[in-house]
Symmetry: C2
Subunit: 323 residues, 2 copies
C-alpha cells in the first residue's frame, strides 16, 4: 500500500481537460453501467461542530475503486486548521487490497467538484457563453470558474459574496490567475441578471437566487447544497428552468435543490449521465434556461482517484530512475 501526501498529489494533478473527461465518463457510467453506489455514510459530531462523510462507488468492470473519508469541522479555523479535510483509499476491485492512501486533505474533492461543474456547463450552457456569474467567494468560487474556462470562452465574471472584503480578494486573485475581468456585485440579483452561466457555490440554508432574475438562455450550476438543510435556489428557479439535470436523482431529492420538488418539476428533470450519453435531450434552444444540481457522488471520487493514481506512479518511477 502506497501513501501519497497532499503536496505529492498537488504536484501531479491538474484541473484540465483530461480530468474533466474522467469525471464526464464517470457520470456517463452512471447511466450505462452497473454501479455499486451505496448511500453516503455520515457521522455527526455536534459537540465539535463537525461531520464526517464516507462515500464510495464501484463501476463494474473497472479494476479499482475509491473509498473517501471527508470531514467538515467548522470550529477548526479558530485553532488555525482548515474546516474541511479528508483522504481517499484506492482499493483493488479484484482482490480488495488497498493500493494507495491518498492523503489529499480534500484537494481531490475540490477538483472533482470543479470538474463536475465543467461537465455541467459543457452539456447545459450555450457554446458562446462569455459571462460567468459566481455566487460565493470561497475555494469552489475560484475552482468552478477555472473549470468553466476549460469549456467556454469566459471573458467577464460577476461575483457576489456576503463579505465585500473577500469579494475584493477574489477579484484580485482571479484577475491575476485567470486574466478575466471581475465585477463585484452588491446583490445576487445583479450577478444573475448578466450571467450566461451562473454558478452557486455557497453553504446557504435559505435561497439566494430567484427565478425572475434569470436571463433567458442562462445555464445554472448549483453545487452548494449537499445536505438536508441547505438550499441556494428559490423554488421559482426550478419553476422557470426548462430543463433540469442532476448528478444522482435520489440524492438530489434528499440533499440537493430538488428536495421537495413536485411532479411537474421532476417531469423536466434528468440525470447528467443520461444527457452525456444521449439517452435524454438537454438544452434544445438558445433561449432555454437550464439548471444542473450537483450534490457530489462517490463515482466522482473513484474517478479522480483512478485518474491521479497512474500520474503518481509515473512520478514515483521517474524519481526512482533518477536516483
Amino acid at each position: 500500500m502506497l501513501v501519497f501526501h497532499r503536496d505529492q498529489i498537488a504536484e501531479v494533478i491538474r484541473l484540465d481537460e483530461n480530468l474533466v473527461k474522467s469525471i464526464e465518463q464517470a457520470f456517463a457510467s452512471l447511466a450505462t453501467k452497473k454501479i455499486e453506489l451505496p448511500p453516503i455514510m455520515r457521522i455527526d459530531i455536534p459537540e465539535h461542530n463537525g461531520e464526517v462523510d464516507i462515500k464510495s462507488a464501484y463501476v463494474q468492470g473497472e479494476d479499482s475503486f475509491a473509498v473517501k473519508i471527508s470531514s467538515g469541522f467548522f470550529n477548526n479555523p479558530e485553532i488555525g486548521l482548515p474546516s474541511s479535510g479528508g483522504m481517499m483509499v484506492l482499493l483493488s476491485a479484484k482482490t480488495g487490497t488497498p493500493q494507495a492512501v491518498l492523503s489529499d486533505h480534500g484537494l481531490l474533492t475540490d477538483l472533482r467538484t470543479a470538474a463536475a461543474g465543467a461537465v455541467s456547463a459543457k452539456y447545459g450552457s450555450r457554446k458562446n457563453s462569455r459571462i460567468a456569474g459566481i455566487i460565493g467567494t470561497g475555494a469552489q468560487a475560484r475552482l468552478q470558474l477555472e473549470a468553466l474556462t476549460l469549456i467556454r470562452p469566459i471573458e467577464t465574471v460577476y461575483v457576489y459574496g456576503r463579505s465585500t472584503e473577500k469579494a475584493e480578494v477574489y477579484k484580485e486573485d482571479i484577475e491575476r490567475s485567470l486574466g478575466l475581468h471581475v465585477v463585484i456585485c452588491e446583490h445576487p440579483e445583479a450577478v444573475a441578471e448578466f450571467s450566461d452561466i451562473l454558478v452557486t457555490t455557497t453553504p446557504a440554508v435559505s435561497p439566494l437566487v430567484k427565478g425572475k432574475w434569470l436571463k433567458p438562455g442562462v445555464h445554472i450550476t448549483a453545487m452548494g447544497s449537499d445536505a438536508e438543510h441547505k438550499k441556494e435556489l428559490d423554488n421559482s428557479v426550478l419553476e422557470r428552468a426548462d430543463v433540469i439535470f442532476c448528478d444522482v436523482l435520489d440524492q438530489s431529492l434528499r440533499l440537493g435543490e430538488l428536495r421537495g420538488a413536485e411532479n411537474h418539476i421532476l417531469e423536466k428533470t434528468m440525470e447528467l449521465g443520461q444527457v452525456i450519453t444521449n439517452q435524454q435531450q438537454g438544452r434544445t434552444h438558445e433561449s432555454q434556461i437550464t439548471l444542473c444540481d450537483l450534490t457530489g457522488t462517490g463515482i466522482q471520487d473513484t474517478a479522480i482517484a483512478r485518474h491521479v493514481y497512474p500520474l503518481l506512479l509515473s512520478k514515483e518511477e521517474l524519481k526512482n530512475e533518477r536516483s
Copy 2:
C-alpha cells in the same frame, strides 16, 4: 498522519485482559452513551467473488474514532492471497484529522471479534466452565478459544470441522500453543453434547447446531453469521435458550441468528451492553441455557483502534529515544 503496518501492529497488540476490557467498555457504552453508529456500508463485487464493508462508530465524548474498510475476496486464495483483508483509519473527533492509518490486513478485526467472544463468555457462561466446544477450524476457531481461556478455566476442547485434515492441524496448534486437550468430533452433535461453552465460528448458510443437543447450563457464542444469507443455529436453539444476548439488536435481526425471530424469542433477548451495565439480567441460574449472537459492530473497531494507537505511539517514541 502516521501509517502503521501489520507487523508493527502485531508487535504491540495482545489478545489480553486489557483488550477484553476495552471491548467490554465499548459494548457498555452502546447501552449508556450517545453513539453515532451508522449502518454498515457494503460494496459487492460479484465478478471477483468479493465484498467490501465499511464500518464506523463514534462514542460521544471520546477524542477519536475509527473508520474500518474490510474486504472478503473469496477467489484470493487461488492466487496465494488471504481472502480477508482490511485497514482502519483513526480520526480525531475534535478536528476530523486522520491521525493514523492502521494497515492491519484484518488483524484488528480478528482480535476485536475474539475479544467480544470473551465478553460474551464473561457475562453468559458459568464461572466453572471447563469444556469449550468449537465449531469450525479457522482463524476465529483459534482466537475465540484463546479468548475464552482469559475468562474461564478451560481444560478440554471439543472441535468439529468439515475437513478432518484441518481439524487435525487445529488440534496440534491448540495443544502446542495453549496446552489444552483437544478432542476432534465427527459431528457437531458430539461437540454440543459436552460443551460448557459452545462457540460457532463458521460462514455456514444452513444451521449446524440443534437445540436438543445442548447440555443444560451451556453458554453459546454464535459469531459466524454476519450477513443475510448466513445462519449457524437451528431455530430450536433460540427456542431452547433461556436468555439471548446480541451485540446490536437491529443488526442481529438483519444479519445474525435473530433474523426472522418471533416475539416470544425477542421477549427474552437483550443487548450485551445492557447486561454489562446491569440494565438487564443475564443468566440467573446454573442450569439456564444462554446464547450470545455477535454480528460485529463498528464500536468494536473504534475501541480496538483507540486501544492500539497509544501502544503504537509508545513503541514509536521508544524507538526514537534509542536512535
